[in-house]
């Protein structure tokens, strides 16, 4: 049991923190956001240089073979900086499918490109009616000769507007919500039949609605076992939730710090507002929510690599509940304690608020995961 970072992890954190404090001030972020892609290619190159884009890949694929703790460190840093780049979409989600579902050839072809910053991915999964049910897929993949033909519509594909390739979930068989009959395919964004409509998201990122109209892919596009790929999706999404939890902790910690600074500098009634007990207790409540969230982000990190899917999913759900609840509480208090200034677009705190809100609704909000845990609890008790 050891929660301290080792030497290499400390170095990773220091170099990332240095990079972000030098080049990701709030003003820089505004400029990146206004660029055509909505994020910084220059920063992307810096991430590649630091080894962040191949953090968890095998060395033979240009990676540095790091584990979940390193991912946590990076995501927490991005959460503090409100980084806009498609790290989550490409490295956590997209490359996650390659690491867990890709063949040796697929990995060799694509992971080195990702690690070098030359390829971005997006996970085209959610559909209009699917909400948070990972198995709810109506996009179809039909066998044709050696390959497959994909038809369907995907929504809120994070960074789908700029991705070079999509990782697409599609139904190879079964009914709309069956666990069986799900396949995962790699599709080039420029392939014939692929259409996309990009747009900004509430938290300043980018996303797209993506349509697949008789899109043909070859056998080399298949990830995992067609028809049996839901467990692959679940595995990657569990890791992704652990990463999001770390990002959320970074954002929550930043909100708490901003609020404390404000309480110590803002004066009303002739004194610092932080001298009022009602506000002091609120700041303590925020600290408790933050520390509980941090603990659960660590727990999710520890469990993200767990082979036992049920134990892993339960842990990840628990973390998602805590992150959602803590994030909302801290954000609401941060805005309230700042008063009017917290409501403005030009001040940082509101942007953290929007990011943690969107994190809550990614891959199941707190209530969704609570219900899932509750169901499993009852099943366990009955067994």
């Amino acid at each position: 049991m050891d929660f301290d970072l080792d030497e290499e992890q400390r170095l990773l954190k220091e170099s990332l923190d240095r990079l972000l404090s030098e080049r990701y001030a709030f003003e820089n972020r505004k400029a990146y956001q206004q660029s055509p892609e909505g994020w910084s290619r220059e920063m992307w190159a810096h991430y590649a240089e630091l080894g962040l884009l191949g953090l968890s890949f095998a060395e033979r694929f240009g990676g540095s073979e790091k584990g979940a703790v390193e991912t946590m460190i990076v995501m927490e840093g991005f959460g503090r900086a409100l980084a806009l780049e498609p790290y989550f979409a490409t490295v956590i989600l997209g490359a996650g499918f390659l690491r867990y579902g890709g063949s040796e050839e697929q990995c060799a072809a694509l992971l080195p490109q990702i690690a070098a910053g030359k390829l971005t991915l997006a996970f085209a999964h959610t559909e209009r009616d699917s909400r948070y049910d990972l198995a709810h897929i109506s996009t179809r993949a039909v066998r044709e000769g050696e390959g497959w033909v994909i038809d369907g519509e995907k929504g809120v594909v994070l960074h789908g507007d700029s991705a070079d390739r999509f990782v697409v979930t599609a139904r190879t068989g079964g009914g709309e919500r069956d666990r069986e009959g799900i396949g995962v395919f790699l599709v080039g964004a420029e392939s014939p039949g692929v259409g996309r409509r990009g747009y900004p998201t509430q938290d300043g990122l980018k996303a797209a609605e993506v349509t697949f109209n008789r899109v043909r892919v070859g056998p080399e596009a298949v990830l995992g076992e067609p028809g049996e790929a839901l467990s692959l999706v679940e595995r990657v999404v569990d890791e992704a939730i652990a990463a999001l939890a770390a990002e959320a902790v970074g954002a929550m910690a930043a909100m708490h710090e901003l609020t404390l600074d404000y309480l110590k500098t803002r004066r009303q009634f002739g004194r610092e507002i932080g001298s009022f007990q009602v506000l002091q207790h609120r700041a303590v409540d925020m600290l408790m929510a933050l520390e509980q969230a941090r603990s659960m982000a660590m727990y999710a990190t520890m469990m993200a690599g767990e082979e036992d899917g049920a134990a892993r999913s339960a842990a990840v759900s628990q973390a998602k509940v805590q992150i959602g609840r803590s994030g909302r509480f801290i954000a609401h208090q941060a805005i309230q304690l700042h008063g009017g200034i917290g409501m403005t677009m030009e001040y940082r705190v509101g942007h953290y608020f929007k990011r943690v809100t969107m994190i809550d609704s990614a891959f199941g909000d707190a209530d969704h995961h609570l219900k899932r845990l509750a169901r499993e609890n009852a099943t366990r008790a009955a067994a």
């Binding site: 007990q277 002091q280 603990s295 659960m296 509940v321």
Partner: protein, 396 residues
């Protein structure tokens, strides 16, 4: 960073678990599971069992009979006892006055008092709160007037837990009424058999009689019973209150309570189904399990950080342990109340000798719920804890 227990730590946990299973009397365990009060003899027998094993004063330095266990092992030991459930070594002696004596007492005091604390040959109680000194503890007024080789103590203590069993009290008294309130307090050891001491039980809302008033009427205390220096008692009291960083959240106890909730909610039926399947209830249960898991991880972070601690400043994470721990324990008692439903109602007062009304496990549940409101009050209310955190950690 490695968030898993080492094989050695896991082996240690199994050893503790095996020892408890082999040695804890079934009757003691059942009382704790069912929420019935322990007799003095239950606590004494178990602590002597632990002491024979060399584990009773696990947190003390080795030269005074301690174990030399790492903070992680100490935590695992407490956690296993709480989960069993088994009584912890009596806190008033082992985690409160014992460490104060070790840090500030004279050699004679250590030799005289520490071994009987370890073996629970002497039962200690804590004389801190007074009717006019609760959250504002430093305003206490019980006086100790020095007369040659003794102090004459007059005044009153209140909320003294288990004073009915106590042989000794460690007591905060005012020795300098002129000084600033924190600077006129001393830490005295008082023999509870001294003439002039009167104990009176206070009946709490659950019908229990575990807390007491203790009155001092010209009680003579030998001057050698002063711990450390005169008028430095407030420092020792702060040391005592800040001393326990592990176990204060009682994570193991809440784990055990959640097991009990699941067990009883599976036995109870509602609308023809086991109550555990009730949607609203099971969501509340799942939410509480999330809170407890988070607290457990926070507790482990604090425990793991002990090793690299250099100063004596509290870890930011440690500050939340008591507050969150108390909220969660109280929430478990609320869920149990919900499980028992209408059979929460029958009241079986002390001395009840008739067969139980309703399910045999039902009678203790409402009283425990009422009684556990105390957890966010004793040892510094949660509001006082927040004041401390705001000042010491947030710098407000």
């Amino acid at each position: 960073m490695d968030l898993r227990f080492t094989p050695e730590e896991l082996a240690f946990r199994d050893e503790v678990r095996g020892f408890i299973r082999a040695n804890l009397p079934e009757g003691t365990r059942n009382k704790l599971v069912e929420g019935r009060p322990l007799d003095k003899d239950d606590t004494v027998f178990w602590q002597r069992t632990l002491n024979k094993e060399g584990w009773a004063v696990y947190n003390w330095p080795v030269e005074w009979g301690g174990t030399g266990w790492s903070p992680v092992k100490q935590y695992l030991f407490q956690d296993e006892l709480q989960q069993a459930p088994a009584p912890l070594p009596l806190g008033f002696g082992v985690t409160m006055v014992g460490p104060v004596l070790i840090a500030f007492g004279s050699e004679e005091q250590k030799r005289r008092y520490l071994p009987p604390i370890a073996n629970l040959d002497e039962w200690w109680c804590q004389g801190f709160s007074e009717p006019g000194a609760g959250s504002d503890l430093a305003s206490l007024r019980t006086s100790a007037r020095r007369e040659r080789d003794r102090y004459i103590v007059n005044g009153q203590k209140i909320w003294t837990s288990l004073a009915q069993y106590a042989d000794w009290m460690f007591c905060l008294v005012r020795t300098d009424p002129q000084a600033k309130k924190q600077e006129g307090i001393s830490f005295l050891l008082i023999d509870m058999k001294s003439p002039g001491i009167t104990r009176r039980p206070i009946v709490t809302i659950d019908g229990g009689r575990d807390v007491n008033e203790v009155f001092f009427d010209d009680v003579e205390v030998p001057a050698e019973n002063l711990v450390g220096e005169e008028n430095k008692g407030w420092d020792y009291a702060k040391f005592l209150l800040g001393n326990e960083r592990t176990g204060i959240a009682r994570v193991g106890t809440s784990k055990e309570r959640l097991r009990r909730i699941r067990e009883l909610a599976s036995l109870t039926s509602a609308n023809g189904r086991p109550f555990i399947e009730d949607e609203r209830f099971r969501e509340k249960l799942a939410a509480l399990e999330v809170e407890l898991k988070a607290l457990e991880m926070t507790q482990l972070r604090v425990v793991a950080a002990e090793r690299s601690r250099r100063d004596n400043k509290p870890d930011p994470a440690s500050s939340i342990l008591k507050i969150k721990g108390s909220e969660i324990q109280q929430a478990t008692s609320e869920l149990l109340l919900e499980v028992v439903g209408p059979y929460a109602m029958p009241f079986e007062p002390e001395g009840w000798n008739e067969p139980p009304v309703g399910p045999e496990w039902a009678a203790t549940i409402a009283p425990a719920y009422f009684n556990w409101r105390k957890i966010s009050i004793y040892g510094g209310t949660n509001e006082i804890q927040k004041n401390i955190i705001a000042k010491a950690i947030l710098g407000l």
